[in-house]
């Protein structure tokens, strides 16, 4: 059994590209958890999506052994946290499993909005914050400036904080010593009733769900009958152990202060919600962890197979994804245009994009995703309140007393020279200005209340393009606001295409309608007849485009009697037609739907 005084549980908070993964890798090396060679092969082998986007999607944890200069050998548990606002709740639970957090700040960039948000989360969770100035090997590193910024903005002392280069390994050893001295040892009573915090879980096809926990009190071993306090589910523990850099290492038991995993033949991750408390069924704790909340999807979209025959495969894939991600919700939905599919709920747009990519990459499915929607609150004249996450079922305007849309508090940190452009963007996106603070002479922090609907389209991309990539964004749901909303319908050849309906702020209906019509015109191939495309609001046409009739598609010379060639060509053409979606008599390539949704608002 581990001596609690020799345990240090910590996580790393950092903005994208500020060196979190590199620092984690260095720490793993210095604690001899992995060799340099293995580092390349094993540790960086994350999800493609994570590597490409430079973000962590899933929390991870790893146990290390560190021999300190004080002669003791410490057990370090590094809990890696997701770094995106969509996963805020997961971040807060990961942090709650630790006693300390390394706040890594890039000495060439300074503090970013995301770092700030996560640091506040850490402070709320009573964590000891250990600032770390990184990238000091770079010429442009401003160590003193960065230290000052940490003190000014976050308000924690940083004058003697470790300054490292995760890339070269410079001073990382000192940092490890500081973890020993500065991060408190975990508290807890191993004789008290079992109390563990779930901070992540994933589905393994051999073991069932593997639950990552921080044990607060008590101990757990194979055979313990455990209970999930919020979901009420009860299981017999099959195995417990630790997470090494290379995978799970079983052990006899894990006890108060430790970080480890539990398996119990659990079939679905929805029984093991992040934030829930694991206790012993026969002797439950009377102080479960507070603040458990079920992850609430904020963004909804329809997902359809490109090929209708893949419906069952899509369902299977979603079920499998859900095994690992309880925050993904879905239910069957039917669209006249797209056939059978699913209405899916996501934590945010990034979460949605990740799911789309995983469906395509891991399950090899071609899918069509409809425009993302938020949940609108509609107060009906008959007194009823309806929550609408699908534009297709938006009530008739005559029956609506008041429509409300969700708004967020957005916090944007941006170099001062781009403030104008960003304010203009927020204005355009119906933002309500709250305040602006100068962080230093170079950067400002802007706060706006913004409709969530305006953020989910391409706000983040616009933000980046207007700030040469320097602006950073963080937001949290604030509540609902009365709004003048209308439903925008798209008609192709006179027929309403349900999958292309949008809920939109009334003043933006014309611009958006026209853009969609133009995008459709550009994406629908010419056919043997003229196809009108209309955008309409409440039955009133507000934009119209026309796909002209095809005039020429002929193999002029059937030369030398080479019929085979012509036949091949026609067969290929026939194949291509099969993929088309039929909207009445109009054939639309499946990519059209995606292309229309990917329109760049800045155009």
């Amino acid at each position: 059994m581990a001596d609690r005084n020799l345990i240090r549980n910590f996580s790393i908070i950092a903005h994208i590209d500020h060196g979190k993964s590199t620092l984690a890798d260095r720490i793993l090396e210095l604690t001899d958890s992995v060799s340099k060679r293995e580092m390349e092969e094993q540790i960086l082998d994350n999800m493609d999506i994570e590597r490409e986007r430079g973000i962590t999607v899933k929390a991870r944890a790893v146990k290390m052994s560190y021999k300190s200069d004080d002669g003791n050998t410490y057990e370090f548990n590094l809990i890696d946290t997701p770094g995106h606002v969509d996963f805020n709740y997961e971040v807060s639970r990961s942090l709650a499993a630790c006693e300390g957090a390394l706040l890594v700040v890039d000495a060439t960039q300074g503090i970013e909005a995301q770092t700030l948000a996560n640091t506040y989360l850490a402070i709320e969770n009573n964590l000891e914050i250990l600032p770390v100035v990184n990238k000091i090997d770079l010429v442009s590193a401003d160590i003193e400036g960065t230290r000052k910024e940490i003190e000014d903005i976050i308000g924690i002392p940083a004058s003697d904080c470790p300054c490292v280069s995760a890339k070269t390994g410079l001073n990382v050893k000192d940092l490890l010593e500081r973890i020993v001295t500065d991060v408190p040892a975990p508290s807890g009573d191993e004789n008290a009733p079992l109390k563990c915090l779930i901070f992540d879980s994933y589905y393994d096809s051999y073991k069932g769900v593997v639950v990552y926990v921080r044990v607060q009190d008590g101990k757990v071993r194979a055979g313990t009958r455990i209970k999930m306090m919020n979901t009420g589910a009860v299981f017999d523990v099959v195995e417990v152990g630790y997470m090494s850099a290379f995978g799970l290492v079983p052990s006899d038991e894990i006890s108060a202060g430790e970080v480890g995993y539990i398996t119990a033949s659990i079939k679905t991750v929805s029984d093991t919600r992040v934030g829930d408390t694991v206790t012993e069924e026969s002797r439950p704790t009377d102080t479960p962890f507070p603040g458990f909340k079920k992850a609430q999807p904020m963004v909804f979209a329809g997902i359809y197979p490109e090929d209708g025959a893949d419906y069952e495969a899509l369902k299977d894939a979603l079920l499998k994804l859900q095994l690992n991600d309880a925050s993904l919700t879905f239910e069957p939905e039917t669209s006249i245009a797209l056939g059978f599919g699913f209405r899916c709920g996501f934590l945010g747009l990034l979460h949605m994009e990740i799911m789309e990519e995983r469906l395509e990459r891991e399950f090899d499915l071609d899918i069509i995703t409809t425009a993302p929607s938020v949940i609108y609150k509609v107060l009906m004249k008959n007194g009823e309140t309806r929550l609408i996450d699908n534009p297709a079922v938006y009530p008739d305007p005559d029956e609506i007393d008041e429509a409300q849309e969700p708004v967020v508090d957005a916090n944007i940190i941006v170099p001062t020279e781009y403030v104008g452009g960003i304010m203009d963007l927020c204005q355009k996106r119906r933002g309500i200005y709250i305040n602006m603070k100068y962080i230093d002479t170079k950067r400002a922090e802007l706060r706006y209340t913004l409709p969530l609907n305006e953020i989910i389209y391409d706000f983040f991309d616009s933000l980046k393009s207007r700030s040469k990539g320097y602006a950073s964004l963080d937001y949290e749901l604030k509540g609902y606001m009365t709004s003048n909303l209308v439903k925008l319908d798209i008609l192709i050849n006179g027929e309403k295409v349900d999958a292309l309906s949008f809920i939109v702020f009334a003043d933006n209906a014309y611009t958006r309608g026209r853009k969609i019509a133009v995008a459709l015109k550009d994406n629908i191939p010419r056919q043997l007849f003229e196809i009108p495309i209309q955008a309409s609001v409440g039955g009133r046409v507000i934009a119209r485009e026309t796909v002209k009739a095809m005039r020429k598609d002929v193999l002029a010379k059937c030369y030398g009697g080479d019929i085979t060639r012509k036949k091949k060509l026609l067969e290929k053409q026939k194949e291509g037609k099969k993929k088309m979606r039929k909207l009445g008599s109009v054939e639309v390539p499946p990519e059209t739907f995606t292309a229309v949704l990917k329109m760049d608002e800045e155009d």
């Binding site: 010419r526 080479d562 085979t564």
Partner: protein, 378 residues
């Protein structure tokens, strides 16, 4: 006696035109070897062809007119020794106007060739240059006059539309110019950018190709102009004076039998559809080895032949005929296609005739879309 068309491929060109994807090489010095091999291949079919009579020969390429005419003469001799001919067969040779001379023309006429096809493409020298043709308008004109003087009574002139930089006006000038020369036949076809051709990567030229709507107008207006000048459209890309349709090509479109010789040549005989590999040296080394030369071959079922009949027959202005369909394939045209063609009739892309149905001119121009929809090749 069953009638047959014979196709002879001459895979040589002085220079490859940038848009062309037919098989030809510029190693003219291999002509001697090639024609020796060709003779061997034709000879080897003697017994196979004993029940057939040739009523048309088409010597195409490549550029048959770029090789020494003695090879053409010899090939005709060989052909006559392996297959019987009908009285008055149609024997066509393709030519590039820049490669003709008195001796060649006389040689062709003397060995029985009675139809000359001339690849003018455009009477606008700038347009010709753009598609890297080696001749010009005046060269064409003197070759044309020479051919007439020396005795060709059946001449076809090729005209292309949708060329880079071409305007409807310059196209009409070409049409007027050609019709003023009064050839018996005019092939009028659109440029297609084929994958792998030099043109396909010449962005600058591609950008100059007229757009679809302009092409449509070019086609429709030129067709009307040709009709006004006394030419009747009998196929998507072919116009002729009365009774001067190309017999050989009509055989293709009516899904009749034909046999091809030389690399790249295609054949459809006794229900078998096959074509030779586009490999000059492979052919020269083993001209009589059917298996090493055949690239693709398929024996068509009667139903597949019926589909092919529709595919090709709808290229013809007169369309497909129920009686012939029944007679040849034992199937009912209305039952097979009546419903499928109706929507195109409604859109005015097709029309019923007293014998069956046909595509309208606008329909011909989008025939790929229509055919790929109504035909089932499986």
């Amino acid at each position: 006696m069953k009638k047959l068309g014979v196709y002879i491929h001459v895979p040589f060109c002085v220079h490859k035109c940038s848009y062309c994807d037919f098989y030809s090489v510029t190693q003219l010095f291999e002509a001697g070897e090639y024609f020796r091999a060709l003779k061997e291949q034709i000879m080897s079919f003697k017994s196979y062809l004993k029940d057939w009579t040739a009523d048309s020969v088409y010597i195409g390429g490549g550029t048959p007119s770029c090789v020494d005419p003695k090879y053409i003469v010899e090939t005709m001799e060989t052909l006559k020794s392996v297959i019987r001919f009908v009285d008055n067969p149609e024997i066509t040779i393709e030519s590039n106007p820049g490669t003709l001379d008195t001796f060649k023309i006389k040689s062709y006429l003397n060995c029985g060739i009675n139809r000359l096809s001339m690849g003018l493409q455009s009477a606008d020298d700038d347009e010709l240059k753009m598609i890297s043709r080696i001749h010009d308008k005046s060269g064409f004109e003197s070759s044309y006059m020479l051919a007439r003087m020396l005795g060709f009574r059946n001449i076809n002139v090729d005209i292309m539309y949708a060329l880079p930089g071409q305007k409807e006006e310059t196209l009409m000038n070409t049409i007027d110019y050609v019709t003023s020369l009064d050839p018996e036949h005019i092939s009028f076809y659109g440029l297609r950018v084929e994958e792998g051709t030099p043109l396909a990567s010449q962005e600058e030229l591609l950008a100059k190709i007229p757009d679809e709507d302009v092409q449509y107008n070019m086609y429709i207006h030129a067709a009307k102009r040709l009709e006004k000048a006394g030419y009747t459209q009998y196929e998507i890309s072919n116009f002729s004076k009365k009774r001067m349709m190309c017999r050989h090509n009509c055989r293709y479109w009516k899904s009749g039998d034909y046999i091809g010789f030389g690399p790249g040549a295609a054949s459809f005989i006794n229900g078998e559809l096959y074509s030779y590999t586009k490999d000059l040296y492979g052919f020269i080394s083993k001209p009589t080895d059917y298996f090493s030369n055949v690239e693709k071959s398929e024996k068509l079922t009667l139903d597949q032949q019926a589909t092919q009949y529709i595919m090709l027959g709808l290229r013809l202005a007169r369309g497909v005929e129920a009686k012939e369909y029944k007679l040849r394939f034992g199937r009912d045209l209305e039952e097979d296609y009546g419903e499928k063609i109706q929507k195109y009739i409604d859109l005015k892309y097709a029309k019923r005739t007293d014998k069956g149905f046909r595509l309208t001119r606008a329909g011909l121009l989008v025939s790929n879309t229509i055919l790929s929809d109504i035909l089932d090749f499986s």
